[in-house]
Every structure is written in structure tokens, then in C-alpha cells.
């Protein structure tokens, strides 16, 4: 049978017209959410489990009936731990997927780049990033973070260093938005405890060797060197410190000195290195069920934070008058209210809200999840570990 051009065009138009209302209907029946996580790049070891924890929360909420009968649909994008890629992915989530919230940005540089897109488009943003400057942006309330600020965590670290007898410290920092505040806070805390921050060197992470940075750091013979970078660069720094014969104390962030770093360096190079991470609520039943779902014995703090963010967003959507970014913004403090009814998951919280509870307090696996007016968490526990024979062991929780 021959089909002429007119017939073909009119058939296609009819097909398109028939499909359009269904597509619109499908979109309006779900609430679109986005996760912008680092699946590749220096944060690539955390992104997959962060995304999985968010999926699990949304799946549980959907299985329990969704938000006022509407199902949640998640789109996961990779920010490649890179601001350029992060902005492109955020644009896609906002403009194409029409998400009402973007969850779990990780690197401070990515969050700093993505945040203006979110508040301009009234999309709610939740983040794992720690740089002080992020919540000082004019975000109009469209941003919360579960990661402690640089000031909060560096104060904990400064006091910890003073407790273990450090008098002279040197800071080697990757070029990040938190490099400058880290130096200011650490210097202040150490000075208040009778110690000194000898100096700071900020390095370019793309270097293949950091010998000159190490030479600068060792010049004044510090008794501790703080390696404030990410896994690839801290791996090189630890090797270079060992080669240079440095035998003093070392500390780095737990996200940098992870299993991958410890498996790629000989145990004698990492021996004695202190690490610090915001401490998850490892004793809680929710933490254990999350670990079981992810099939791991320990859940990293960033995955715990992503899990909490997903729960908070779901609760805020249930509480909100409209399932929009602005609705989440207006409701978020009502579901993390210290005086509210305590819940440990979105499903229980949604039931409580449906039964008329006005304010609830979501108690998270990453911490208490209490936010101030600019979206920072107000307190955190810090978990200090020390590496022995290539394995991190708990040293202290403060």
C-alpha cells in the first residue's frame, strides 16, 4: 500500500496529538525530584551509594502511597565532581525534568555553582558541601545542608589537635572554597589553645607531584601536617611526605583517606594518619537498616546525609501546601523542628502529618538535622579515627 506525503504527515500529527495529553498527564501525576551526585571524579566513590540511598527513601514513600496520592519520580545526574558538568546537569534537571528539588550535591565548588540556578528557578537544594560561603549566598531559604560548616568542623579539629598535644601545625589545602576559612578557623582555635598554625600552602590538584609543597610545609618543622584535600591528591601527598622523611603527625579528612586510598598505599606510608568525618548515628536502627539495604557494614557519612536529605524533602513535600520548591522551602523547618514529634523516617513522618501532627522532628542517621535560618546544621559529632596497619580504627568521637 502506498502512502502519500500528506497522509504520512497527518498520521504523524494525529499520533503526536494523541500522545501529548498522556505525556502531560504522566508528568503531572508524579512529583519530579533530582539527585545531582558525583558518580565520577574525585567524589566518584560516594555518588553511587548516595543515589541508591535516595532511591530507597523514595521507593519506600511510593510503596506507602506517595505524597497525597502522587508518586515521586527521581532523576539522577552525575556532576563529575566538577562545577561545569554540575551546572549542565542542574540545568537539565531544572529545565527538562522540571524537578522541584535537587538533592545531594557533594563538592563545595559544584554547590556554589549550582545554588544560584536553584534559587532563581525556585528549586529547593539540599547539599553535602561544607564551605562556609555556601549558606552565606542570597539563597532566600531554597538551600539546606546536612554537612557541618567549615567553621563547625574545623573548630572540632582544632580542639582535637590541641588535645593530642599538637603545638605547631601546617595546613596543606586543595584549591577549594573552604581553603581560606579552614586556615582562619584552625589558626584561631590553635592560638586559643596555646598552639600555632605555622602556615598554609594551597595547591593545584592536577599536579602529579607535590614535592615542593611538602618542602615548604616541612621548612619550619611542624609536629602535625593537615592534608586538606581529596583522595587522588592526598594519596600523592602521603607518598611524598613519606619519601621526604616526615615522621610527625598527619591528619586528613575521612572522605580523602578512604578504603581506596588505604588499598593503594603501603601500610607503612599511612600508619598513624588521623582522619576526621562528621559522625553518623551508628547505633540507630535506621542506620542499621540503611547499611543492610546497601549491603555494607559501615555507611559513609555522605550517603547518610543524602538519605536524610531525601527523607526531609519527602516530609516537607507532605507538609507543604503545594508540591513545589517554594512549598518545600516554607515547610522544611516545620519537619525538622526540635520541639516536634520525633520520627526516624519519611514514611512514619508522612503518616504523622496525615494524622494531624503539626510539627515533627526528623532525627537523621547523619546527625540531629536541626537547621538554623540560613540552612546550616547547628551541631555535629566528629568521629576521629587513626590508621593502623592500613585499617582505620576509632580514636575518639567528640
Amino acid at each position: 500500500m502506498l502512502v502519500d506525503r500528506r497522509q504520512a504527515i497527518s498520521s504523524l500529527a494525529a499520533l503526536f496529538a494523541a500522545a501529548l495529553p498522556r505525556a502531560s498527564l504522566a508528568q503531572s501525576s508524579t512529583i519530579e525530584l533530582g539527585a545531582l551526585v558525583p558518580l565520577t571524579g574525585s567524589g566518584g566513590s560516594y555518588g553511587p551509594s548516595m543515589a541508591e540511598s535516595i532511591k530507597w527513601v523514595l521507593q519506600n514513600v511510593n510503596d506507602a502511597g506517595g505524597i497525597n496520592g502522587r508518586k515521586l519520580n527521581l532523576t539522577v545526574e552525575d556532576d563529575q565532581t566538577n562545577p561545569d558538568s554540575g551546572v549542565r546537569a542542574a540545568r537539565k534537571l531544572i529545565d527538562v525534568n522540571k524537578v522541584v528539588a535537587i538533592m545531594a550535591t557533594w563538592a563545595s565548588s559544584v554547590t556554589t555553582a549550582v545554588a544560584p540556578l536553584c534559587w532563581e528557578s525556585h528549586t529547593f537544594l539540599t547539599t553535602d558541601s561544607g564551605a562556609d560561603s555556601i549558606t552565606q549566598l542570597p539563597h532566600q531559604g531554597y538551600l539546606i545542608r546536612t554537612e557541618p560548616t567549615t567553621t563547625l568542623i574545623m573548630t572540632k579539629i582544632g580542639n582535637f589537635l590541641a588535645d593530642i598535644g599538637v603545638k605547631k601545625a601546617f595546613l596543606i589545602s586543595a584549591q577549594t572554597p573552604f581553603a581560606a576559612p579552614a586556615k582562619a578557623v584552625l589558626g584561631k582555635v590553635l592560638a586559643s589553645r596555646g598552639g600555632t598554625l605555622l602556615g598554609q600552602v594551597v595547591y593545584d590538584r592536577d599536579k602529579t607531584s607535590f614535592r615542593s609543597e611538602i618542602d615548604l610545609a616541612m621548612k619550619d618543622k611542624p609536629d602535625l601536617i593537615f592534608l586538606d584535600g581529596y583522595t587522588p591528591d592526598v594519596t600523592i601527598l602521603l607518598g611524598d611526605l613519606f619519601r621526604a622523611g616526615y615522621d610527625g603527625k598527619k591528619i586528613a579528612r575521612g572522605y580523602a583517606v578512604n578504603e581506596k586510598l588505604l588499598s593503594s598505599l603501603p601500610p607503612n606510608v599511612t600508619e598513624g594518619v588521623f582522619t576526621v568525618v562528621p559522625s553518623p548515628e551508628v547505633g540507630s536502627a535506621t542506620y542499621k537498616s540503611l547499611a543492610q539495604h546497601l549491603n555494607v557494614t559501615e555507611v559513609d557519612p555522605y550517603t547518610c546525609e543524602a538519605f536524610d536529605q531525601a527523607n526531609l524533602v519527602c516530609l516537607a513535600l507532605q507538609k507543604a501546601t503545594q508540591p513545589t520548591g517554594t512549598g518545600i522551602r516554607d515547610a522544611i523547618h516545620a519537619v525538622s523542628d526540635p520541639g516536634g514529634t520525633v520520627v526516624y523516617g519519611a514514611v512514619d513522618g508522612i503518616k504523622a502529618l496525615r494524622s494531624g501532627t503539626r510539627k515533627i522532628k526528623y532525627s537523621g542517621v547523619s546527625g540531629p538535622c536541626i537547621f538554623n535560618q540560613i540552612g546550616d546544621i547547628v551541631d555535629v559529632k566528629a568521629r576521629f579515627e587513626q590508621v593502623h596497619n592500613g585499617k582505620p580504627t576509632l580514636f575518639k568521637i567528640t
Partner: protein, 285 residues
Amino acid sequence: MSEAAQLAVNGLMSGSLLMLPAIGFSLIYGVLRFPNFAVASIATIGGFSAYVANVFFHWPLPVSIAFAFLIAGSIGVGSDFLLLRPLRKAGIVAAAIGSLALNIFLENVVRFSFGNDLRGLNVPIMRDVVVLGLHVGRQQVFNVAWAATAAIILFLLLKNSRIGKQMRAVADNPMLARIQRIDALQVGNITTFIAMGLAGIGGALLALDTSVDPLLGFRILLPLFAACVIGGIGSFPGAVVGAAIIGIGEEMAAVLWSPAYRTGVGFIAIVITLMIRPSGIFSRQ
């Protein structure tokens, strides 16, 4: 003064790691007359080849480095045959853009095959030796020796062997070489194999010095290009001297500016060279 000397030593060490990929880049430019930016991902492939040979097959380091040379050279020739040779007919710009695309493609093939994780070779991390008050890493000395040996062998090959003379003939005047019945296709293949093999050894030495990940080559792309521009693209000694200058310049930047501006050294070196001597230090013009 001792600080400056230490920085110079550190710079020479890191420059020596840039040297082999820079020589490879220059060699291809000299003979095939186009900038092959895929040299960066081939260096990454060299690093991963050495990793596989050393960690999975438990081969000793010299064999692992030779393996990196063979794999990198073979993939270099294969990718040149499939993608870059047809593009060269469309001109230097098409070939250069094609090589950038090939670079991204190969990097992602490595990422897909090995993941993003850092991987280290089975080599002990040894304490530095101190000579005249200057710290020098034992592994770095080993790496410099490897790089220098490879460069000297290539130099002797170019100077004395028949294929070396043919390569120089094609580089000097392709038309005259064709009249002399030199098989330009064969010379091009051998040049690509050697150049990419050298890049592969460079990647293996970088992996030995630090660790290997899919971005290993990408990190050295700008410095190695800057090294070639300074020395004169297409010049063998130019690549060697350019790599040393970039290595020392990047380390010195740590003292004069902030180490955070190290990347700027490559850009500034390119700009200054293009303003003062556009064809580089060792150009014949």
C-alpha cells in the same frame, strides 16, 4: 638559595616525566605534520598497561614498562589507522580536532574498563636520599634513568638507523622523500608506534611515581603541549629542554606566586614563546 636549588631539582624530576610524552608529541608533529592530542590518553593507557602487567601478571618493572610501550604503541597505530589518517586528508585542523575527540574517547574507554579508582603499582615507597643537602627520591632517580635511556635510544635510532633517516627525510621534505621512494605510510606507522610507545612509557613512569587513574594523561596535556611549544614543535631536543623548563617553572611558581597558579605557568610560557619566538627555541627558522 638551597630552597631554589631544591625547587629546581623537583622541577627537573617532574619535567623528566613530561619529557617522553612531549618527545612523542613532537615526533608525530614533525613527521605527520599534525598535533596529536591523543598522546595524553595514550599515556593513561600506558600507565594502566604497566599496572596490569605489574599487579595482575606480577611481571617485573622493566617488563611492565616494555609492555606499556607495546600496548600504547599498538593502540596509537590502530587509532591512527581508523580515525586520524582519514582525517589528515581533510587538513591539519580536522586531524587535530579528531585527535582531541579520540583523546576523550580513549580516556572514557579506560574509565569504563577500570573505573575511576586510583591504582598503584607494586613498588615500595622509599625514603629520599640526601645529596648536598638536597632531597632526591630514589624512585624519581629510577624514573629519570628510564626516561633518559628511552630518549637516548630514540635519538640513536633517529640518527643512525635506516628508518630513523627515513623519518627525518619525511619530516624535512615529504615530497622529496616520496621521490626517493620512501614509503611515507610505513614511516608514518612506525613514527606513530614509537611516539605513542614513548607516551605510554611516560604514563607508566607517572604511575610508578604516584598512582594511575583515567585522568592521568589529561593532567599532563597542557604542560606537555607547552613544553613542545617552548622547545619548538617537531624538535626532539626542543621537547627535552621544553619539558625541563616547564617542570622547573611550575615548581618555581610555588615560591614566586601561589602553587595554586601552577597551571598558569604553561599558559604564560606558551604566550611568551609565541610573542618572542613563535616557532620555539630549537626551531630552524
